[in-house]
């Protein structure tokens, strides 16, 4: 786990911070409060907020990363940052209506609109996970509360497990063919299997079939470059604020896409912030961590990196293998092994059952907040100053 002490970063010749501190010294030496210094304090406070919030996310237990509860913390952090950003925009209308920051902020609000589609796709993804609950319930009902596992219950659980395995895997992966073979029970024919698969896939109601999460992320991060030093000063640090908030938006959406199943989940988005900016350090570290996680061989075939999905797969795959290899009547040790895996599965099931609704509500909250904030800021920026 990387250690990030942003005190260290700031005392080094970190670009953003040092210019601000130099300016602040100048101002203090003038012995008068200049409007510009109030702004810069605001801007600095915002960057510190971003750094703090994302530092907290890194500081979470490493096995909590990308879990449902961690995602909720991420969304909280996002909302905090955006709320503060909104306040800054509303207060600094005059400065924001000048080039070049005028264009940066218009770009930011365009990025916000693109992020809305990601939020909607994530909601669909959460629904997809919710659908697995039914299959989980079947498995738990069939295998959990029996003294001994009967063959009928076994078969019933097996069918649900195969469905689950298909659902949890990315549809691009060849593993799904293996799952297909095991699917033939009774009168199942190919058409019916495809319909089952189709069921898990056609849950994207909010975006078109050609929509791609990966492309959307690229679009959100498109043309997102750090402001030049002179821009930074001439805009009283506001261009850096917009840049920071844009990165917060991009990272939040990126992390959601990494965790939750959605159409065309590619994670190759570029982050143009560098660790020179103290606020960017925790964000970039998190980015590295999650990216590394996604490249692990045993993660690559999953439809999402959500911790609960990983744990689910850890139960489902061995259970499938177990139930494939076993013959009736069950040997005692196999039965014990089975029951143990089922118990683990029960735990994951409970986390999913209890956590999905609040997560979905929060994603909706983020959606609504992005819309409200954008509308309010755009309206404010378009009106002349004389209106109250």
């Amino acid at each position: 786990m990387p250690t990030t002490d942003f005190h260290e970063a700031s005392s080094s010749s970190g670009f953003g911070f040092s210019i601000l501190s130099r300016r602040r010294d100048q101002v203090h030496s003038m012995e008068s409060t200049h409007e510009a210094s109030v702004q810069e304090i605001e801007v600095e406070a915002f960057q510190k907020q971003v750094a703090d919030r994302f530092q907290d996310l890194i500081a979470a237990e490493s096995d909590d990363w990308l879990s449902i509860s961690w995602l909720r913390k991420l969304l909280d952090a996002f909302l905090c940052c955006q709320e503060e950003f909104r306040a800054i925009v509303l207060k600094n209308k005059a400065h924001l209506n000048r080039p070049p920051v005028e264009r940066f902020i218009a770009d930011f609000f365009d990025r916000s609109v693109k992020a809305l589609d990601v939020c909607n796709a994530i909601r669909d993804g959460i629904e997809q996970i919710r659908q697995w609950q039914k299959q989980l319930e079947i498995v738990l009902c069939a295998l959990d509360n029996q003294k001994t596992i009967g063959e009928g219950q076994f078969r019933r659980a097996k069918k649900a497990l195969v469905d689950l395995a298909i659902g949890v895997l990315d549809d691009k992966e060849p593993n799904t063919n293996v799952a297909h073979r095991n699917r033939s029970f009774g009168r199942s024919n190919v058409q019916k299997e495809q319909k089952s698969l189709g069921h898990f896939r056609s849950l994207s109601w909010s975006v078109s079939r050609s929509w791609s999460a990966s492309r959307q992320l690229q679009a959100i991060g498109g043309n997102l470059v750090a402001p030049r030093a002179n821009e930074h000063i001439s805009t009283h640090g506001l261009s850096m604020t917009v840049f920071a908030m844009s990165n917060v938006l991009l990272f939040t959406m990126w992390a959601l896409v990494a965790a939750i199943p959605c159409q065309d989940r590619g994670l190759q988005t570029q982050f143009n912030a560098t660790k020179q900016f103290f606020w960017a350090v925790p964000i970039l570290s998190l980015h590295e961590i999650i990216l590394d996680e996604s490249k692990r061989r045993d993660r690559r075939h999953l439809c999402g990196l959500l911790k609960e999905i990983i744990e689910l797969e850890k139960c489902v795959r061995p259970l499938n293998e177990l139930t494939d290899s076993v013959h009736f009547p069950l040997k005692k040790d196999k039965e014990v092994e089975l029951k143990q895996k089922v118990e683990e599965m029960g735990n994951v099931y409970e986390t999913i059952r209890d956590g999905l609704d609040p997560l979905e509500r929060q994603v909706r909250e983020v959606f609504h907040h992005i819309v409200r904030s954008r509308t309010e800021c755009l309206e404010s920026l378009s009106r002349p100053n004389s209106h109250d």
Binding site: R123, G152, R156, S202, S206, S208
Partner: protein
């Protein structure tokens, strides 16, 4: 001894059952009756009874399960099978608490195994029934024909054949039709199956099959209406004309969904899951959720999109659609699971209101941003005035809706109307909003008028534009909103500008024509000289005015006439009397032609050519 007696009793009981019972079922029934009658028999019979029951059920059920043909295609078999399943389910329930007993436990295992196989088969039957029985609706104008119930047919092959499906072109004329998505017989059969699956604890499997199938049906129905799935960003970047088309399609689609499709699905859920209201509610919500989200999402995208004023009327359409369908929505989604959907719909409704208010705000910005420099040559009607007035009149055709939209908001913080205006006009928030826009327009016109170098032209410009505004307001809803007093005041403005014009243009000329005490006090030659001077001045001033004002325009015919008449009315008599004074001076009379350039008629003629705006004032 006692044992022997009991054994004999049991044997006799069995014998009786076998002799009297013509079928296995009857025999079992008889044995059961004996068991209930006598405790000793119960004990002795129970083990065997359990096995007997199980064996007979096994025979029957396995027979059905192993058959290739769908069981439902033969009603007698179907009900017999279901009956057996009922007994099996009851048996499992009965035996489960007795699982400690080894004999019972092994039977229980077999029973559960049999039950699972029955359930899997029932699931297949369920899917097959839905697949076969569904007719697709031709929602673009036709209605499909009810398929005849094939259950009596002997030829099973035709059951699988989907080709003899003929849509009949009967247009759906109104939304009161609740279409049967499946034939009544099929629904009944599905219910029978669902009942058994739920009772056996297989509600998830049943729901899964049901939901998946109905979701596909809905998706297909909607795609026939040409409705695409569009993301918010896609809508945001769409060309307006294309978006207008999509809005039309959406309006049709959401009406069909909420008035036909969803009620139909609700009815289906209620009938198939009759007696299991939780399952019915949950399945209904899961079936309709996706489509509802898609429809709401589009409305949301429209609300979030551009606030360009040209979009007002289509956004109003979307808003009115959502508003009008809200009662249906709340009725259809009144169950416990659909709360979040209801909340979403309401949020989007509110956002559409905000969007409409935002459009008016954007209109204000548009007016404010219209550059002052773009004054119209000749002081005529400015395009912005024409645009705004026609826009507001068109908007007021949706007055009731707009009142609703603005009532829900906080009115602009500055109520710019003065006390009288406020008291007499409509006190609605919409009235305030309209008055505010007029205020913004007024400021803009003021700024534009100042660009003209001549004060007189400035007045002409304002006269023209306010005349137009008053005319457009007077005979319209807009007038009711702004109020009589507002109209009165602005009409007075026009008159004021008229007066200003006259004063700034013609007072100099009129001043020259004033001949009062000259002739009395000075000598005749002096008087003649000053008169000649005055005449010269008049000629040059008049010429100048006519030249300058030749390109000026008054667009309104009536106003034009009024102006000409009032100018003429002041100038003509003054000039006539001036000429009269000239004629008293013999010096001038001798060379009248040389000095007097214009006759009174000439002057009147020149004036009557003013304000045409085509330079025709020049000779």
């Amino acid at each position: 001894m006692a044992e022997n007696g009991e054994e004999k009793l049991v044997a006799v009981a069995r014998h009786i059952a076998k002799t009297l019972g013509h079928t296995d079922t009857m025999a079992e029934d008889i044995l059961r009756i004996f068991s209930n009658f006598d405790g000793r028999l119960r004990e002795k019979l129970s083990d065997d009874g359990v096995k007997q029951t199980l064996n007979s059920l096994d025979r029957k059920i396995s027979g059905y399960i192993s058959a290739d043909a769908p069981i439902w295609s033969n009603p007698a078999n179907f009900y017999s099978f279901l009956d057996s399943v009922d007994q099996l389910t009851a048996a499992v329930r009965e035996w489960t608490p007795l699982a400690d007993d080894k004999n019972i436990s092994s039977c229980l295992d077999r029973a559960e195994d049999l039950l699972q196989r029955s359930m899997f088969r029932l699931e297949d039957e369920f899917r097959a029934l839905m697949e076969r029985g569904a007719k697709s609706l031709d929602l673009t104008g036709g209605r499909a024909v009810h398929r005849p119930d094939y259950s009596d047919e002997e030829d099973d092959a035709s059951v699988e054949d989907d080709d003899n499906f003929v849509p009949v072109a009967q247009p759906i004329t109104d939304y009161d039709v609740v279409v049967d998505a499946l034939p009544a017989g099929t629904i009944g059969d599905l219910h029978e199956i669902a009942r058994r699956m739920v009772a056996a604890g297989y509600v998830n499997e049943c729901s899964h099959a049901f939901n998946m199938w109905r979701r596909e049906f809905l998706e297909e129905s909607l795609s026939r209406l040409g409705l695409q799935k569009l993301g918010i960003d896609e809508v945001h970047r769409m060309q307006w004309t294309q978006l207008e088309d999509e809005i039309e399609k959406w309006i049709k689609a959401i009406n069909v969904a909420l008035r036909i499709l969803f009620p139909s699905e609700r009815s289906l859920c209620d009938r198939i899951f009759l007696g299991f209201s939780s399952a019915a509610d949950l399945n209904f919500m899961e079936v309709c959720r996706g489509l509802t989200i898609q429809l709401l999402n589009f409305a949301d995208a429209v609300a979030i999109g551009s606030r360009s004023p040209e979009r007002l009327f289509k956004v109003l359409d979307v808003y009115e659609t959502v508003r009008d369908l809200m009662p249906e929505f709340e009725l259809i989604f009144s169950d416990q699971y659909s709360l979040s959907l209801r909340n979403e719909a309401i949020a989007i409704w509110k956002r559409l209101e905000e969007a409409i208010r935002g459009i008016f705000m954007e209109l204000e910005n548009l007016i404010r941003r219209d550059p002052a420099k773009s004054a119209v040559p000749g002081g005529g009607l400015h395009p912005i005035t024409r645009y705004v007035m026609n826009y507001l009149r068109a908007a007021c055709r949706s007055r009731l809706t707009l009142e609703q939209v603005f009532e829900d908001s906080v009115a602009p913080s500055v109520d710019c109307r003065d006390g009288d205006d406020k008291a007499l006009s409509s006190s609605s928030s919409l009235g305030v909003q309209m008055a505010w826009i007029m205020e913004v327009l007024e400021c803009n016109l003021e700024a534009k008028s100042k660009v003209y170098r001549e004060a007189a032209l400035c007045s002409v410009f304002l006269m023209n534009n306010w005349r137009y505004i008053v005319q457009k307001v007077k005979d319209d809803e807009l007038g009711t909103l702004l109020g009589d007093d507002w109209i009165r005041k602005r009409t007075a403005k026009v008159r004021q500008y008229h007066v200003n014009y006259q004063r700034s243009s013609w007072s100099k000329v009129l001043g020259v024509l004033k001949v009062d005490s000259i002739s009395n006090s000075t000598s005749p030659s002096g008087a003649s000289k000053s008169l000649k001077e005055k005449l010269k001045l008049f000629n040059s001033y008049f010429e100048e005015i006519c030249k300058t004002q030749s390109s000026w325009v008054i667009f309104d015919e009536q106003l034009r006439e009024e102006l000409r008449i009032s100018v003429s009315g002041t100038l003509s008599p003054a000039y006539r009397s001036f000429i009269g004074r000239l004629q008293a001076v013999p010096d001038i009379v001798k060379h009248m032609d040389r000095h007097v350039r214009y006759s009174v008629e000439d002057v009147e003629a020149r004036i009557s050519m003013l304000f045409q705006g085509n330079g025709s004032g020049r000779r």
